[in-house]
Amino acid sequence: MDFKFTEENLQRIEAARKKYPTALAAVMDTVYIAQEQNGYISDEVMSEIADVLGIDKVNVLSVVTFYTMYHTKPMGKKHIQVCTNVSCMLRGGQELYEMVCERYGVSNMGVTEDGKVSVEEVECMGACGYAPMIAINEDFYENLTKEKVNEILDALQ
């Protein structure tokens, strides 16, 4: 199973490269593009990124394992991120997190068996004034209660 970037994504990578004086600097953008295409960053995806950018493979590995938003294993189609940091915690974030885990029967970074949902306990997402919050994939849901979260999650199915 060889991973290859799509033609369109290769063009996006080329555009990202132009932002910087070095190819290495485009690695974060490129990992994002790869994750978008492949769902997660496998070893062979990392090899391909290194190839496309002409950088050492370990440079890709070191970056991928540093940043929490890059996933080296498949996540659910809907990746639910629940903030439990202080501002959210003060307004029930921890309880929301436990509720969501229980609902899907998974723990932190767990994926449901059908692969539809994964749950992550995240650090502060910058929504402190609208706490508690969850994010599903790229979208923020703010000013939540347990009921509201359940409604949102019901609508996912």
Binding site: D56, K57, N59, L61, T65
Partner: protein, 561 residues
């Protein structure tokens, strides 16, 4: 020159030097884990925090530039507190592996814990766990729990070896070191990471669990793997070489040596194929005889040939002293066919240390007089002459000519007389009529001259039957000092072998040449008196760092990274 005051000592320094460099130059050792004089500064271990007058916070000595008039305290209460704090942090998750750790005894962490720690831990939690037995490469084992994340190995691979093969992964106290998945940490310099690892995180697969450090003696020596002549230390226990490590010599090899040299240039010394006592061939079999009998036979047989039928083959594996006396004997006998074999592996070199010439002393052999004189034949001509039986007798000094290839072996088969000095039995000794056991590089004193003309000293690290560790002033391990002859560790093999120069001088007596040398040093003194290239050199001024030979023009070697 600008001056800095460290612990009340006024020291001169060069502009651009950091505090730790200025201190080192002035004989003050500021504790450090991540800093290494040949690597970039990473500043991550924090053990070198020192107090600088007029600065509000402690600064790290490894990255802070020394400045004129700067006043530094490396032992103030504030500094000691910070150092203890860092030691405590490093130790909280460090396993108590010392009893089974190869690094114990030469471990910076252990040394500093003894020197700078309070001796009591306040940490009562569970330690973090990581992978403990990772085969990072064919020669390297990694223990993630012992690693203190100093990044020396990563920087070495990238900056010195030029192979960006290692990296940190993960974050915080989960950080560990790895190669890319499925790839191996494999280049010709990986074992240097074991040397520079300040703890026992990286260990040598070859040396792992072989010996405690304090059970070995360490002797200054020179690697015989190629003509770079990397400075080494030979580590011995049970009279067996356990490992080689590089010894710092900025002009020759910096802090490094290659894996090839480290692993392939000492095992023959310990090997069962060692020649133990002289032997002569009778009815097709090599029979052990006394030295006198062997030398008498060598003398008598050599006398059977015209000098034009005899050739002497010196050796780039033997010392300058060995070759010098060998050449003196040839001259005395009137043998002009004298040369030595070059061992050039074309294309087998790199840009760091490894050279194509796979012998340690070809320049030394040549300068000491191993070259055809008065119309004598060169090595290739000698071998051609052997084939057509024009040369009928060969006297070979420490070189396995038959091992060079079938053609050479076949030629040796045609000889009427073959006298060989050998460390190990080999293909050449199969054809020999007289085999004289020579001491290996690790068993004798002597001088090698490397490709760049640096004369460097060998010292005996293991003993032969005729040498004694204590009486000969050799380096001693704790076991050597405190053990008795009844202890198990004293039972290592000792061979009846002698340095080639001694064998040659014994033989020369029989030819009426009085080479009365008791020690290698005397041979070298004679060489320096008689040979313009070695003029003014002696064992003392060659010392630990070597000295350039004279009256010769060689390309200036590039600086080692």
């Amino acid at each position: 020159m600008p001056k800095i005051t460290i612990d009340g000592k006024e020291l001169e320094f060069k502009q651009g030097q950091t505090i730790i460099e200025a201190a080192k130059q002035g004989g003050i050792d500021i504790p450090h884990f991540c800093w290494h004089s040949s690597l970039s500064v990473s500043g991550n271990c924090r053990i070198c925090l020192v107090e600088v007058e007029k600065l509000p916070k402690l600064v790290i000595a490894c990255s802070t530039l020394a400045a004129d008039g700067m006043v530094v305290q490396t032992a103030s209460q504030k500094t000691l507190d910070a150092r203890n704090a860092v030691m405590e942090f490093i130790l909280i998750n460090h396993p108590l592996d010392c009893p089974i750790c190869d690094e114990a005894g030469e471990c910076k962490l252990q040394d500093y814990a003894y020197e700078h720690s309070v001796g009591e831990s306040r940490f009562v939690e569970e330690k973090n766990h990581k992978d403990k037995r990772v085969q990072l490469g064919p020669r390297i084992m990694f223990d993630g729990e012992r690693c203190i994340s100093c990044s020396r190995c990563i920087r070495f691979s990238d900056e010195i070896a030029g192979k960006n093969q290692l990296t940190f992964v993960k974050r915080g106290d989960r950080v560990t070191i790895t190669t890319f998945p499925g790839e191996s940490f494999d280049n010709n310099y990986t074992l240097n990471t074991v040397d520079i690892c300040p703890v026992g995180a990286l260990t040598s697969a070859d040396f792992r669990f072989k010996s405690r450090v304090w059970e070995m003696s360490a002797t200054d020596s020179v690697c015989v793997g190629c003509s770079r002549g990397c400075n080494t230390e030979v580590w011995v226990r049970d009279n067996k070489i356990q490992r080689l490590t590089p010894r710092h010599n900025e002009a020759v090899n910096s802090h490094w040596m290659c894996d090839y040299g480290r692993l392939n240039t000492f095992k023959f010394v310990n090997d069962e194929t060692r020649v133990d006592g002289p032997s002569i061939r009778r009815e097709g079999q090599l029979i052990k005889v006394s030295w006198d009998e062997a030398l008498n036979l060598a003398h008598d047989r050599l006398r059977e040939f015209k000098t034009s039928e005899i050739a002497f083959i010196g050796s780039a594996f033997a010392t300058a002293e060995d070759n010098y006396l060998f050449a003196r004997l040839a001259k005395h006998m009137g043998v002009h066919n004298i040369d030595f074999a070059r061992h050039i592996a074309h294309g087998d070199f790199d840009n760091l240390l490894l050279l194509e010439d796979k012998t340690p002393n070809s320049l030394g052999a040549e300068l000491a007089g191993i070259k055809p004189e008065h119309g004598g034949l060169s090595f290739d001509e000698i071998m051609e002459a052997v084939k057509i039986k024009k040369i009928k007798a060969l006297y070979i000094l420490e070189d396995d000519l038959a091992g060079l290839g079938e053609e050479y072996a076949a030629a040796l088969g045609k000889l009427d007389l073959l006298i060989v000095h050998a460390v190990n039995y080999n293909k050449t000794t199969d054809y020999a009529d007289v085999v004289l056991p020579s001491a290996a590089f690790a068993e004798k004193n002597g001088i090698f001259v490397n490709f760049a003309g640096t004369a460097q000293r060998l010292k005996p690290a293991t003993t032969t039957l005729e040498t004694d560790r204590a009486l000969d002033g050799m380096s001693m391990s704790r076991w050597d000092v405190f053990g008795t002859k009844f202890d198990r560790w004293a039972n290592g093999s000792r061979y009846d072998a002698r340095p080639s120069w001694r064998i040659v001088s014994m033989l020369s007596q029989k030819f009426g040449l009085k080479l009365k040398f008791q020690m290698a040093e005397e041979v070298f003194r004679s060489l320096s008196e008689h040979n313009k290239h070695f003029e003014g050199l002696d064992y003392d001024n060659i010392g630990r760092k070597g000295a350039l030979v004279k009256n010769i023009s060689l390309p200036v070697p590039e600086k080692i990274k």
